[in-house]
């Protein structure tokens, strides 16, 4: 009976993996001609998986009912929150991809499948409650991601970014695995529950602390937090833009979800041991993300630094090490996903006369005159990322800083928010180029309808109208955070 119950709990993952395998056969059979059809089918599969996950979130599922496979896995509200965001981001990636790849005649049938398997791995990451499940999910996601980064085989930058991501990603996985082994060695268990129990009993052994540090270092790489952020700008710039969108949204959500689960659940009994590391990484990410972006002239690189910067703010929520902090992180992550989607879709829509992507910021000069709608959306993304009210990006910063002040981390909040002003400088630069400079009229290409629709939806979400969703968002994030802290 236990097995049946467990299989019911992971229904979403089963749907994803079985459909993935069937679609793989279809892809092998029909070849690249079927790429679009497979994409559409994959979006449908992701929608079904999301629908399966949603009730757990709305019903605030938590506790023993959600535990599957003897504590290896949890299908609670927290994992549902993460999965919904992951599946939605993956669907967005699949929707925006064809218009981009068609330009290079490189829409391959493998693409939707890799996204599907990566999403499956990510879903496992946010549900994992055992070090081994965690690692399986992580690697399933990573291997698919390495290939995705390099999917434009003929493009040197894409290949380079794939290689970089692979080498550095493997290194990080190694570090993480080393941490896992130390943690196992010193606590005698791989289950999060067990680790929590072992850490809460008596004094903390040095080995266990080392284990935690290594695990967190490996995770810091995955979420691209400083000082393990170096790969981000190169990979974001080199990878095809739809893939970058995927990395900036789904990958971020899953890695952050995993980090939250592992630090708040497994290491939750000894927050003092890792809080300082998180605070250090948070401030460093905010500052490096802000300073590094200043000299950038490629919009994708700029978005990469911006993601480092934003991860810093999200980590402030983690530094609180309490339930309101976790809820604040989730709200921020949801808003950040919307901002990234809007930002990258807008970048995808920047095409010159021949339909080639325009990525240089200088080429956006005077965009507000030639393409007012697109410029306004991009400006809204920039102000939103900078956290300027009344745009919705402000709300993300609002909740994490509020959580930090409530957790008596006033100094951290003050430093973080002061550093956010540095970040405002480069976001303003993009707005300045688009609005104040003379028009160069480089961006003349037609945009895909799907891009336009997605951009409008995401822009409305990050506009002041987004505030009307705060009650709903807070309820969901509250459910998810409560599940995370339900021991």
């Amino acid at each position: 009976m236990e097995l049946v119950r467990s299989l019911q709990l992971v229904a979403g993952e089963e749907v994803l993996s079985i459909s993935g395998l069937i679609l793989l056969l279809w892809a092998a059979w029909a070849g690249d001609k079927a790429a679009r059809a497979i994409s559409i089918a994959s979006v449908a599969v992701l929608t079904v998986a999301a629908l399966i996950a949603a009730p757990a979130l709305y019903g605030a599922a938590m506790g023993a009912d959600t535990v599957a496979f003897g504590g290896q896995y949890r299908a609670d509200a927290f994992s549902a929150f993460g999965k919904l965001l992951i599946y939605a981001s993956a669907a967005v990636t699949l929707i925006v991809a064809p218009a981009f790849f068609d330009r290079f005649k490189a829409m391959r049938a493998e693409f939707p499948l890799l996204v599907l398997f990566a999403a499956l791995g990510m879903g496992m990451m946010v549900s994992a409650t055992d070090l081994l499940t965690l690692y399986i999910g992580l690697e399933l996601n990573s291997l698919a991601s390495y290939v995705l980064a390099a999917i434009l085989r003929s493009d040197e930058r894409s290949a380079e970014s794939g290689l970089k991501y692979f080498v550095l990603g493997s290194l990080a996985s190694g570090i993480l695995l080393y941490g896992v082994s130390l943690t196992y060695g010193f606590t005698g268990t791989t289950s999060f529950e067990g680790i929590r129990h072992a850490l809460s009993a008596g004094t903390l052994s040095t080995g266990a602390v080392f284990g935690m540090v290594f695990v967190l270092a490996g995770m810091a790489f995955k979420i691209s937090a400083a000082p393990f952020h170096m790969w981000t700008p190169d990979v974001y710039e080199g990878a095809p833009t739809p893939v970058t969108t995927f990395f900036a949204t789904a990958s971020k959500v899953s890695a952050l979800g995993l980090l939250m689960r592992i630090s708040l659940m497994a290491f939750g009994a000894a927050p003092a041991a890792w809080q300082q590391i998180v605070i250090f990484a948070a401030i460093l990410s905010i500052v490096i993300g802000a300073l590094g972006a200043i000299g950038q002239d490629n919009i994708k690189r700029l978005m990469a630094y911006s993601s480092i910067n934003n991860v810093g703010f999200i980590l402030i929520g983690l530094a609180c090490a309490n339930q309101p902090g976790a809820a604040a992180m989730l709200v921020y992550i949801a808003i950040y996903v919307a901002m990234s989607v809007a930002g990258f879709v807008a970048v995808l829509m920047l095409r010159d006369e021949n339909g080639d992507p325009v990525e240089s910021i200088a080429d956006l000069s005077g965009l507000s005159k030639t393409r007012p709608g697109l410029a306004a959306a991009l400006a809204a993304v920039m102000f939103s990322l900078a956290g300027i009210p009344p745009l919705f990006g402000f709300w993300g910063k609002f909740v994490v800083f509020q959580a930090a002040v409530q957790a008596n981390l006033v100094a951290l909040a003050a430093i973080g928010i002061a550093a956010s002003v540095i970040g405002a400088f480069y976001y303003l630069k993009v707005v300045k180029v688009m609005y104040f400079d003379e028009a160069v009229d480089k961006v003349r290409g037609k945009s895909d309808l799907a891009h336009g629709v997605l951009l409008v939806i995401a822009s409305v979400f990050i506009s002041p109208l987004g505030y009307l969703l705060t009650n709903w968002l807070h309820t969901l994030a509250g459910n998810a955070a409560a599940a995370l802290f339900h021991v």
């Binding site: 005159k369 009344p390 002040v405 303003l428 104040f436 009307l468 705060t470």
Partner: protein, 511 residues
Amino acid sequence: MSGFPILNLMLLVPLVGAVACLKAGREQARMIALVTTLVDLVLGALLWANFDTGGAQWQFTERANLFAGFQWALGIDGIALLLIALTVFLMPICIGASWNSIEKRAGEYYAAFLLMETLMIGVFAAQDLFLFYIMFEAGLIPMYLIIGIWGGADRIYASYKFFLYTLLGSVLMLIAMFWMVNAAGTTDIPTLMQYNFPPHAQTWLFLAFFASFAVKMPMWPVHTWLPDAHVQAPTAGSVILAGVLLKMGGYGFIRFSLPMFPEASAQFAPLVWGLSMAAVVITSLIALVQHDMKKLIAYSSVAHMAIVTIGLFAFNTQGLEGSMLIMLSHGLVAGALFLGVGVIYDRLHTREIDRYGGLAINMPYFALFFLLFTMASIGLPGTSGFVGEFLSLMGVYQESSWVALVCTTGIILGAAYMLYLYRRVVFGEQKNADAAAMPDLDAREWAMMVPLGLVTLWMGVYPESFLAPMRKDIALLEARVAVAAPKGDAQVKKGAAKPAAEHEAAHGEAH
């Protein structure tokens, strides 16, 4: 009027206008903007007419639980009423000032202005701490665009400076707000105004708020963004910047710093006085040597705002009322002076003082109005400038005669730089042929100058109209800060009690 959501409507009207302007052409956009701002002016007049002077402290309150963590809560007292009235009064004039001078991207321009109007009214009407913060900060975006797109030659530097300076000032205030809400358990401003924060915490909270309001005000030495922003902004941008945006700093002190942190306000009063004294003297002297008309008026604004801050930190009724009156008066007068500069700038396209001269000959009516506003800026009795400055200085005299002494030099220096400006621009010989050929005011410019002139005189001759709505609120504020007020050096002694009738008469004169 009870139950009619007039404040919501006042916020909504410009917002709808802004959306309509976005897509409209130049002609349509300016008509939409004019109509919208006039509708808001009428609504503002209705608001004032229905305001129950001496009635409940908070009127026209509207509340809706739309958001998590804060409320959509509006409501005004007399202080907010006057500042909202100032805003809606200046807005049609701003649109008028832009009527011909804005040629490129007019739709977006008017949209930005109307958005500013919504946000400014929102700042004064917000009764929720975070709603206030959102409105307060949101104004940065349209103003950044106004300066950056339609500004002068050095507009980009000025827009960055404006944005980053004010942003850096404000973010720490947000952290302080979190702390306050955490401690008091509410985001409601009226409740927080009654809440007693522990004195040691007040120190930090005060400093965080001070960082924001001092930059916005602006106080010396964080005023340097203002001359740049003023000089580069288009005329209407300068009017709104001087007229309303600077008042947000003063409003912040009245609404937050003083009532919420009375002990810390008293503790830091010497700091505020010191900065204000420095500002009055230094910026007046700087204004004296300016060659750029807008820069001169910008520095004079800093000096006037310093008189506002000393009045606020005098902790007595005269000082507080005086500060409010200076803010209103400065809103009108500095706005009018920028408008005057705009009038001649539109004709000659330079702000260089030396390029003008002898305008009294070819532009007599312009000279008349410019004289009126120059005198009002100096604080000549009978104009609005006098009442506020007099009350404010009298208020601070009770606290510290030295501060009053130093700040009064501001009046003398003010007369010096303003009259010097007037002499160089309007009097003297007509040394530049092109300046001598400029036509006098046209109908549009008359329509902008006359209301400003009339209100300036009204406020100077019968300030009671403007004092009455806020008297009760100022009294409440005074009672709140009186506990902590530092002991003054004036040694005022109460005389023997007089018969009641005589006392009433004396009281009436003081105002």
